[in-house]
Structure formats: structure tokens, C-alpha cells
């Protein structure tokens, strides 16, 4: 439970969320990740450390380079993955209701 709360803290930070979106597309080295940000490499490295500690990012070695990739299983846990889907339908149905109420008042 303690770890779970930490995971949510980890993704509460906008820079860390940005790192997640970058790495979601492809595995990246720390320097490749850092190139996308104005902050120092040290700052970015710290963020990567936190994301790795929460198991959102995983390390893999390719020769001498370390690559970080997303742990989809963890991400699925975090996303409470039904919620965005539910929201999508809720938005649609709200729209449906509004449109039909207007229709009702005109007919």
C-alpha cells in the first residue's frame, strides 16, 4: 500500500509524466531522455531513479548502454485502466442526453 501511494506521487510530477510519455514510444538511454528537457541531466536522472524505484520504468542493458523502457503492467495498475474508457462513454452519453433534451424541447 505504501508503494502504491509512492507510485501515484511519482506520476503526480509533470516532468515525470513527460518522461513516461517519451519512453512509452520507445526504450531510451538517460541522455536521450534528458535531451528533451531544459533541466540539468542530474535533475532528469533523479526523476528516472524515482520512476525506476516505483517499477514504472525498467532498465535493460544493450552493450554498455542502459536503456529505460516502460513497464506496461505497472502502468496498467496506475491507470485504473477502466477509468479513461468509462470517461469516454460518460462524455458520449452526456452529449447524447443534452442533444436529445434539446430535440425534445423543439418537438
Amino acid at each position: 500500500m505504501e508503494l502504491r501511494r509512492d507510485v501515484f506521487q511519482a506520476i503526480a510530477d509533470p516532468t515525470r509524466r513527460a518522461i513516461i510519455t517519451l519512453v512509452a514510444l520507445q526504450a531510451m538511454t538517460p541522455s536521450a531522455i534528458a535531451e528533451n528537457f531544459g533541466s540539468s541531466r542530474q535533475t532528469i536522472s533523479k526523476h528516472i531513479q524515482i520512476l525506476t524505484a516505483c517499477e514504472i520504468l525498467e532498465q535493460e542493458y544493450n552493450g554498455r548502454e542502459i536503456y529505460y523502457h516502460l513497464n506496461p503492467k505497472k502502468l496498467k495498475d496506475i491507470a485504473d485502466f477502466i477509468e479513461p474508457f468509462r470517461n469516454m462513454w460518460d462524455d458520449r452519453f452526456n452529449k447524447l442526453e443534452t442533444i436529445m433534451k434539446e430535440y425534445q424541447s423543439k418537438h
Binding site: T21, F81, F85, R86, N87, R92, I99, M100, Y103
Partner: protein, 155 residues
């Protein structure tokens, strides 16, 4: 009355249930599924074909704000009972997703309220779970696009 949309996806099952109660007579709720103009408004999609009858077919096409087609879907209608029931298939074109089967039940609650229950059956549990994650993945990609725009502005 609880009007929020409920989604029930039991772990390890290849189906899901979507339930919603509406502040609308069931006839109007049903009309929102049958009238192509109205469907296009709330689904945010272009309706290329909508034959609301048994053995009928449907086809939708969604474009981004620049007019590029981003999403096409189609299916056939198996059962069509006005104000009660639509059974249809749903297929996303040009994607690895397998066709899914949808049972839509429309129910009158009072003269002014109604309930819709969607029961969707997938080819496998994995397909269901992937579909559930789509809005989240799209959200991530959108966030990524925004990030790219910001990064480009910084350069």
C-alpha cells in the same frame, strides 16, 4: 438517481457491461441510436451508412480537425426491435482488433427516464483488455504530441 455511466469488466472474462440511466423517454434514447444525424452529433463521427433494421449494416468514419481520417468502423445489425433492442457487430477497420458482438438493451424506467445496457463480447480476454486501455494510450500519445510542440517552441 445515479446517472453516471458504469462499466463492469470482470477480471479474466472476455466481455464487459456498460450501463447508463438517462433523463430521457426510452423513445428518444432509442432515436439517438437510429437517426444518422443525431448519431453523428453525439458520437462525433461521420455516419456513412446506418441501416437500422435486421440484416442492415452500418459504417462510421471519424476525422481529426485537419480532415484526416483517423478511425473507421463498421458492422452488421442482427436484431432490431424499436425502443427495446439492437444486436450488432462492431469492427475497427485497419486495426488488429477482432470484431466484437454488442447487445444493446433499451429499457423504460418511467415516462421520462430510461436505461441502456450494453453487453459487449470480445474474441479474447486480451482483446478486451487492450480495448479498455485504448483511451489511456491515446491520452498518452496526445500528451506526447503536446510535449513535442512545447519542446519545438523551446528550440
Amino acid at each position: 438517481m445515479e446517472r453516471k455511466t458504469r462499466v463492469h469488466a470482470e477480471e479474466g472474462k472476455q466481455e464487459l457491461h456498460i450501463t447508463r440511466e438517462f433523463d430521457l423517454p426510452v423513445e428518444l434514447l432509442f432515436k439517438a441510436y437510429v437517426d444518422p444525424e443525431i448519431v453523428s452529433q453525439w458520437m462525433g463521427t461521420k455516419v456513412l451508412k446506418l441501416e437500422s433494421r435486421q440484416h442492415g449494416g452500418w459504417r462510421f468514419e471519424t476525422s481529426d480537425p485537419h480532415g484526416n481520417i483517423v478511425f473507421q468502423s463498421n458492422g452488421v445489425i442482427h436484431e432490431f426491435i424499436p425502443n427495446q433492442k439492437i444486436t450488432r457487430t462492431f469492427e475497427m477497420e485497419n486495426t488488429p482488433f477482432a470484431v466484437q458482438l454488442e447487445f444493446l438493451d433499451f429499457e423504460k424506467l418511467t415516462d421520462d427516464t430510461s436505461r441502456l445496457q450494453m453487453h459487449i463480447v470480445f474474441k479474447s480476454v486480451a482483446y478486451r483488455d487492450q480495448l479498455l486501455q485504448l483511451p489511456f494510450v491515446q491520452g498518452i500519445n496526445m500528451a506526447h504530441n503536446r510535449l513535442q510542440e512545447i519542446v519545438i517552441q523551446l528550440k
